[in-house]
């Protein structure tokens, strides 16, 4: 067991945002946290990321309580998280200040390659498309070789075709690098396409309504009846959530 949420609760002033979240994530697992907008998904991810302290409960990773952000676990935002004043290679090398120069150069080259940004090493983010910026941010995160990636609706700002390509890319990278991934989304299809397990949260205050195992091998066939059954099951679950 890699990441463990132990009775996490969060309130902002009088507003309860998260209520008694219990969840365990295994090493190498891809878990999607799915819920309607405003249910506290980002708050939950910020809590595991060490950026926000929960008002109740705690998160442990490899048995150690989380007390702050840590380079072993990198948070990926929507594409706007890359530094616009750095080039592609400088962005990827941003977290590599502890490495020797040749090690740094080798890693930059490797991750430029992995996310398919060859030829754009000296480009600035403003010269890249939305999807390329997102790949750049993933590369910057991977370059420091973290065990865990946190992704908060990372493809939310992309058009639907790019979004599909990015999901495929992310799965390929996940399979190559074997990271533990916590992926927040409000998109049901996205969660069933990507995750080993989908954690369905209720509307605010967010509670774990259901954890759905997605026992489908990759690449997933989107017309497979089992895929459709799982998707519809979660639709039903969320539909109920909207009636509260």
């Amino acid at each position: 067991m890699k990441v463990h949420f132990d009775s996490i609760g969060m309130r902002f002033g009088g507003v309860r945002v998260l209520d008694d979240i219990n969840l365990s994530v295994n090493a190498g697992e891809f878990v999607c946290i799915l819920g309607p907008s405003g249910c506290g998904k980002s708050t939950l991810l910020n809590i595991v990321g060490g950026f926000v302290t929960p008002t109740e409960g705690r998160v442990t990773i490899d048995g150690e309580p989380v007390t702050g952000p840590d380079p072993r676990r990198i948070f990926v935002f929507q594409e706007r998280g890359v530094f616009p004043w750095l080039t592609v290679e400088e962005n990827i090398g941003f977290g590599l200040f502890r490495q020797k120069d040749d090690e740094k150069r080798a890693r930059i080259a490797r991750y430029v390659q992995l996310v398919g940004l060859q030829g754009f090493e000296r480009s600035y983010p403003r010269e890249l498309s939305g999807g390329m910026k997102q790949r750049l941010e993933v590369a910057r995160a991977l370059a420091v070789d973290p065990d865990v990636l946190y992704l908060d609706e990372p493809f939310g700002a992309l058009d639907s075709i790019t979004r599909l390509q990015m999901r495929r890319e992310l799965l390929r990278i996940w399979q190559a690098e074997r990271k533990t991934i916590l992926f927040v989304t409000h998109d049901i299809e996205e969660s069933v396409q990507l995750a080993d397990r989908v954690v369905v949260l209720s509307a605010r205050p967010g509670r774990v309504r259901r954890v759905v195992d997605v026992n489908l091998a990759h690449p997933r066939d989107l017309s497979d009846p089992r895929y459709i059954a799982l998707r519809d099951e979660i639709f039903g679950e969320i539909g109920l959530a909207h009636q509260i």
Binding site: G49, F51, G68, P69, D70, P71, R73, I74, F75, F77, R80, G81, F83, P84, W85, L86, F94, G95, F97, Y124, P125, R126, V144
Partner: protein
């Protein structure tokens, strides 16, 4: 091009009106050449530039750290902002009498006024820059394990540099405006002094106009240099070309 038209218009107007007081372009050039012969031209320009440089650089050295601190600690901004907002609308020229009391007849008086004029735009631009840094940049910096110091030098500073640059340019414009007025008191050299002295000592309007043109020209050159900084690699990302 428009400059040439205006110049021709000026020369023509002087001839047509037959004025004895207002100088023609040639008078101005002759006046400036005479000044150059008396070795005053370069000395005056040098003195003016020196004063602006001192006051302005002091404003940069103080304004940027103060702005950084005020942007970073909102409690500090809450405490200091009312004072700054109250001092800011006071024209630096209103400080002249005080400057003379404090610094007497010396270079320090105009330098102080130039400092006052340029420090506030720099503080405000820096502070707003820090406040407008997207929180995710800072969050990402902390996530990668940067120390506070590295966070400031590698994330905060590059993120706000373009805004600081805009503030520096505005501040320079104000500093240059104040210079001339500041040199009309307390000192006996510089382009501002040239104008007031030429008028008082013998109504040399050729030198008055010459001084004005020099001030405009130098200001333009310096502003162009500052604008050139906007194309530097470190800030180019924020300015669309």
């Amino acid at each position: 091009m428009l400059g040439l038209v205006l110049l021709a218009f000026w020369a023509l107007a002087v001839v047509v009106s037959g004025t004895k007081i207002f100088p023609s372009p040639m008078d101005v050039v002759r006046g400036l050449l005479e000044l150059a012969r008396r070795k005053l031209l370069w000395a005056y320009m040098g003195d003016s530039l020196f004063r602006v440089a001192c006051g302005y650089l002091a404003a940069v050295a103080i304004g940027i750290p103060v702005g950084l601190a005020m942007g970073w600690w909102s409690s500090l901004a809450r405490a200091a902002n009312p004072v700054i907002q109250m001092l800011r609308p006071i024209s630096p020229l209103a400080w002249m009498p005080l400057a003379v009391i404090w610094f007497g007849v010396s270079n320090l008086a105009p330098i102080f006024l130039i400092f006052l004029a340029s420090v506030f735009p720099i503080i405000v631009a820096t502070m707003n820059g820090v406040r407008n840094v997207p929180p995710m940049y800072v969050q990402a910096g902390r996530n990668f394990g940067l120390s506070t110091r590295a966070l400031i030098t590698r994330v905060l500073f590059p993120a706000i540099l373009p805004r600081i640059l805009v503030g520096l340019r505005i501040a320079f414009g104000v500093a240059w405006l104040v210079l001339v007025a500041a040199e009309m008191i307390a000192v006996d050299s510089g382009l501002g002094y040239l104008i007031i002295d030429a008028r008082n000592a013998g109504k040399r309007y050729d030198l008055v106009v010459g001084g004005m043109l020099l001030i405009g020209l130098l200001g333009l050159i310096l502003d162009t240099l500052i604008r050139r900084a906007e194309t530097l690699r470190a800030v180019r990302w924020a300015f669309h070309e």
